[in-house]
């Protein structure tokens, strides 16, 4: 909402400076976004007189002017056709920055003639698009006077943001009222004078849609003269960002910004019979003042005559009945439209207008009957004519609101003591009528223009913002006497630990969008309709992601394209299986792509494989406290993994805590990312809660001082026997003394029976009370061999 300082002062008698006014506006909740003073940019421009204008010796279109520039005579080469001796124009001396061209003037020779300065057009000063000639000022303009001053442009423009609740401040009058209440001056309340009609209105109004338009006041004004608005009106409209059209239209726009009261004027000669306010008929057409055709659906409130719809109520008028320079008789509309219907219609047809903006926030219902009077007054004043009597269809809704008000609530809710009298003063100045009921209780009648107020908290807010939020003393929150307790949930602690854990093993945390390309989501088990966005920002972000991995793979691809050779990424965040509350799961996912590191003199890099993914998955599970030792490895990773190079980590056969492996080459090809990519997903929600409580003592450690013994065995087993199975068989051979087993060699090929492999394992034997004898070691070795042979069907390799 933009308006000028002088406009504000028409409603506010004040001695306050511009800075005081803008500070106070922000302090009362009318946030100042900018203050621009057009006089600033126009400072160097002043009035000068052309003494002589001779043809340029070397150019037909140019003139050489001798200019009286305030006591100094200068020579200016000018291209304007209207430059002539004796005219007063706007002069810019050498050194002036010309806003319209962006050039700073220099003394220059133009076709061999010296030019010192410039006579300006309106476009060169960015006042309008006018560039047919230089500005031709009235003959009595004083030479040397600043142009901004004589043109009335020394009027700062204030731009404020109005929150949706303050529809009353979508007019300068409402803004002035807030400032007056805040002590910045006195509100100049406009007196609304009743204008006697000199004749009955030849146009009548009927309302068929009272829900959409409860009341409509109209007036016929005959014999008006339309044309350009007076300068002051044009200036104010331009300052507000509006384009002056004609005085009749400009008056309605001006009052919209002055009183937050939209109007419409119809060229009465173009009306076909009486006006009916009704719901649109389905399929009915309307050409609006924006020049566009609309086909109506039947949900809109229209203003109609016998020809059909001539306007969308509260939003925009129709082209057929618009005012033009030829308009002689007008019908003025001042009506009330339902906010919800206005919003729906405006949104349905995509029409933004100042009227819609106000009606959807709510226009003061009382302004229907006063508005028709001040609207008429302004038309009569600026366009002449004779007003008819006022036609009123429907009735102003009687929804006078009252709110109980306890002055003690200002301190109770606001935390600041405002004397009762001051609270009452503020509310009164804002237009509330207060009636004391008993000590500490008033009934406040809410002014008709305050659509937002419906409770005591609203009154407290009004008092606080006018009194000043800065006067509310800061109060520390009551603090517990003890050390603050931990506040993270288990999942939050886990996410945190996982993030730190993965970052510490070389993965970089990313955060990617929760939505992704539906076509790709399908490859990751997603893309179902329930998770599809109805209004995505682009087709590449149109479904909720079923897995974090596609985003990570795409990110890896982008980084690889930028030349990154070694890529490690992870994200801890949601993936989505359906749109229900528990359809969102917390997942830690990561990948490694490219090579393991830079080329190195001692550690040559390699590509990533399944075991990198397995290591990362186990590190993740370890970080979040999963019982890693009890996990089992199964096949059955989702089908975006390489079927032969992936697995799942499970707690029991059913609870899948993680999947890991190399990404399926087909997927990588579709995503255009070079493989191999080793990835993992850990489903953090499925990791069981830790047993036991925090701060519990731990059992004594199982530490033996006796040296352990390591024995190596090689087994020839069937190729399909998993190494994990061999190790498990070795470990279970003797639960007391066999404490660990690991694979140190894997051999397949010549010398071995077809379809078999050799696995060499190292088994750790730990004595308990005394060192092993050779016989004991021998017996344990035999147990290991027979356990492995029995469980895996393998043979000790001798």
């Amino acid at each position: 909402m933009k308006f000028t300082l002088s406009w504000l002062k028409e409603h506010l008698k004040t001695d306050a400076t511009l800075a005081e006014i803008t500070d106070k506006l922000t302090a009362v909740g009318l946030e100042v976004e900018s203050v621009t003073d057009p006089a600033e940019a126009l400072k160097p421009f002043f009035v000068a007189e052309v003494i002589e204008a001779k043809p340029h010796p070397n150019a037909d279109r140019l003139r050489v002017c001798t200019v009286n520039a305030g006591g100094k005579t200068v020579q200016v080469v000018c291209g304007a056709p209207n430059a002539r001796a004796g005219m007063k124009g706007v002069f810019a001396p050498v050194g002036t920055h010309i806003p319209g061209t962006g050039i700073t003037l220099k003394q220059a020779e133009i076709r061999g003639v010296l030019s010192s300065g410039m006579l300006c057009s309106e476009r060169e000063m960015m006042l309008s698009e006018e560039h047919d000639g230089i500005i031709d000022l009235p003959a009595d303009s004083p030479i040397g006077a600043p142009f901004a001053e004589i043109a009335g442009l020394d009027d700062p423009v204030i731009d404020i943001a109005i929150t949706p609740n303050r529809q009353d401040c979508l007019g300068v009058l409402g803004i002035a009222r807030d400032l007056a209440a805040a002590g910045l001056g006195t509100l100049i309340s406009p007196v609304v004078e009743q204008i006697e009609g000199s004749h009955p209105s030849p146009v009548n109004v009927e309302i068929d849609a009272p829900d959409a338009c409860p009341v409509f006041a109209g007036r016929f004004i005959r014999g008006v003269k339309n044309g350009p608005s007076p300068d002051w009106l044009q200036r104010r409209l331009r300052a507000s960002g509006l384009r002056p059209i004609s005085v009749l239209v400009d008056i309605t726009n001006y009052l919209t910004y002055d009183r937050a009261r939209p109007f419409h004027v119809y060229d009465a000669a173009k009306l076909n019979g009486d006006i009916r306010v009704r719901m649109a008929e389905k399929g009915e057409g309307l050409v609006a003042l924006d020049g566009k055709s609309y086909v109506l659906t039947g949900s809109e409130c229209v203003i109609a005559d016998q020809s059909g719809a001539i306007g969308l109520g509260g939003i925009i008028g129709g082209e057929t009945t618009g005012a033009s320079d030829e308009t002689k008789d007008v019908f003025l509309e001042c009506a009330l439209f339902d906010p919800i219907r206005t919003t729906q219609t405006g949104r349905l047809h995509g029409i933004e207008s100042d009227a819609r903006y106000r009606f959807e926030r709510g226009v003061d219902p009382e302004s229907v009957l006063s508005g028709i009077e001040f609207g008429t007054r302004m038309i009569l004043d600026l366009c002449g004519g004779e007003a008819s009597n006022v036609i009123v269809a429907g009735a102003v809704p009687d929804d006078q609101k009252t709110v109980p008000f306890r002055p003690g609530r200002v301190a109770g809710l606001g935390g600041v003591d405002v004397p009762e009298a001051e609270s009452i003063r503020i509310l009164s100045e804002l237009g509330f009528a207060l009636e004391k009921q008993e000590a500490g209780l008033y009934i406040a009648a809410v002014p008709s223009w305050r659509m937002d107020v419906d409770g005591e908290a609203d009154l407290v807010e009004d008092i606080l913002r006018i009194h000043g939020y800065d006067k509310i003393p800061s109060t520390p929150l009551p603090k517990a006497a003890n050390v603050a307790k931990p506040t993270l949930t288990l999942q939050q602690k886990r996410s945190r630990a996982v993030r730190r854990g993965l970052a510490s093993i070389g993965l970089v945390e990313v955060i990617t969008y929760s939505f992704m390309d539906g076509a790709i989501a399908g490859l990751f088990g997603g893309g179902q309709d329930s998770l599809r966005l109805a209004n995505p920002i682009s087709s590449e972000l149109d479904v909720m992601r079923p897995s974090i991995l596609p985003n990570l793979i795409a990110a890896a691809g982008r980084n690889a394209d930028r030349g990154v050779k070694s890529i490690g990424l992870f994200e801890v965040g949601p993936h989505y299986t359906d749109d229900r509350e528990n359809g969102q799961a917390l997942v830690a996912a990561g990948l490694r792509a490219g090579i393991t590191g830079p080329r190195h003199w001692a550690a040559p890099p390699r590509e990533h494989d399944l075991f990198d993914a397995k290591s990362d998955a186990l590190a993740t599970l370890n970080s979040c406290g999963a019982p890693v030792g009890s996990l089992q490895i199964y096949d059955g990773a989702p089908n975006w993994y390489h079927p032969g190079r992936s697995a799942t980590l499970r707690l029991g056969p059913k609870n899948i805590l993680a999947a890991f492996g190399e990404i399926h080459p087909g997927i990588l090809k579709t995503l255009d990312v070079k493989g191999p990519v080793a990835a993992f997903e850990v489903y953090l929600d499925l990791v069981p809660e830790p047993r036991g409580k925090a701060g519990q003592t731990r059992p004594a450690p199982d530490i033996s001082d006796l040296p352990g013994v390591e024995r190596d065995f090689a087994f020839i087993v069937d190729q399909n026997i998993a190494a994990g199975e061999v190790l498990r068989a070795a470990k279970t051979a003797d639960k007391q003394f066999v404490t660990d087993a690991s694979v140190f060699d894997l051999f397949q090929g010549t010398g071995l029976p077809e379809g078999s492999k050799s696995l060499a394992i190292s088994v750790k034997l730990t004595p308990r009370n005394k060192t092993f004898t050779d016989e004991e070691i021998e017996a344990l070795s035999k147990k290991v061999i027979s356990s492995v042979e029995k469980i895996t069907g393998g043979k000790l390799r001798v």
Binding site: T343, Q344, T487, L488, Q492, R496, I511, M544, A555
Partner: protein, 358 residues
């Protein structure tokens, strides 16, 4: 006698001239081993008369000890020389690069979330969460944002595909629905913060379709706006880690708070760098207010008995202000160059004892 002294002389010579550890060991075995020269001589003692033995015994033992000492000394010398030679040979170029070991980083949003968790834990706030996919009740209706209210349009809501059997779901446009969930499920007193992902259909340098917010809610019998100011001033000062931050509470409007405010912090530009805390410019950092009585009532709590405040703040924006990023879009582009530049080390864990940032 003469013989022994000659022998000693010769043997000491031999020891001295041994030039490798292997030669010395061979010599030792040939002299002191089981079949060695001196061992042999000592064996002859058994066949001597007591007088002869009395004379030769000490001499032979003395000879043996002399030679043992000499071998030990020589061995030491040779070993030392050998070590010196080995060390010389083993010299490597220490300027060669170490074996590669990449360090990962923590995303600035996670880091700031951890910072917030620290600060609000100290202020006694628990952390609450809610789903990203919300229904209209939690995201709008319960928050006093009716269907056709202009505020609902202001949210640029993402809707999920319309379903016949149930009302249309939305991606939450703010973290405020967590307020509702908390008030419905928990009895006052309540003190929570709720960080999380939020979504609005918007995209430019300072808006992305997904961003992060943190919501705060305090509900009790006597909480007033002074507490709101005190709490947020404490938070802002702690977060920016400067002693004095110029702050301004400005009246504003949110459907779910009454009175409502926005908090601006003072700032100025030092060249191209934004300095937080002092200066003549203002930066809006969060919205807040006293929870609207209707919102409290919508959650089944009596607004005449309980009141409190709520606030909501953009986490990404906080990160940008504190750590100097200028383009929000880069937060979600996964560019390793950006992530390594603005990311945090794994062990750079914010704590109150150690300070939020290193």
């Amino acid at each position: 006698m003469e013989q022994i002294s000659d022998l000693q002389k010769n043997l000491l010579n031999d020891v001295e001239s041994a030039d490798t550890l292997e030669a010395l060991e061979a010599l030792r075995i040939s002299v002191l081993g089981k079949k060695g020269q001196i061992t042999g001589l000592l064996k002859t003692l058994g066949s001597m008369t007591p007088e002869q033995r009395k004379e030769s015994g000490p001499l032979l033992n003395q000879l043996k000890n002399r030679i043992i000492d000499a071998v030990t000394v020589k061995k030491d010398t040779l070993e030392k020389a050998g070590l010196d030679a080995r060390l010389k040979k083993e010299r490597v170029d220490a300027t060669l690069p170490v074996r590669p070991q990449t360090q990962g980083t923590i995303h600035p949003v996670s880091q700031v979330m951890d910072e917030l968790a620290e600060i609000f834990a100290d202020l006694g706030f628990a952390i609450a969460e809610g789903p990203d996919i919300e229904n209209n009740f939690h995201n709008f209706t319960a928050l006093n944002i009716p269907e056709e209210h202009p505020a609902r349009q202001m949210h640029d809501t993402f809707y999920l595909a319309e379903k016949e059997e149930s009302a249309r779901k939305v991606l939450r446009t703010h973290t405020s629905p967590v307020q509702i969930r908390t008030m419905i499920n928990q009895k006052p007193p309540i003190r929570i913060v709720a960080p999380g992902r939020t979504y609005r259909s918007d995209s430019d340098a300072t808006h992305t379709p997904m961003f992060h917010q943190v919501e705060g809610l305090v509900l009790d019998r006597d909480i007033h706006m002074g507490h709101l100011k005190g709490c947020l001033e404490a938070f802002v000062t702690a977060f920016f880690e400067i002693d004095h931050v110029k702050m301004r509470f400005r009246p504003s409007y949110f459907p779910f708070t009454e009175p409502s405010a926005e908090l601006d912090i003072g700032c100025h530009f030092d060249g191209d760098t934004l300095r937080i805390g002092e200066g003549d410019d203002w930066l809006e950092i969060l919205g807040c207010g006293m929870v609207h009585p209707k919102v409290i009532a919508n959650c089944g709590i009596d607004p005449d008995e309980y009141q409190g405040f709520a606030f909501g703040c953009g986490i990404d924006r906080l990160a940008m202000l504190k750590y100097g990023m200028t383009d929000l879009r880069a937060f979600f582009e996964s560019d390793l160059r950006w992530l390594r530049h603005y990311g945090f080390a794994a062990l750079d864990i914010p704590t109150l004892a150690g300070g939020l940032s290193r």
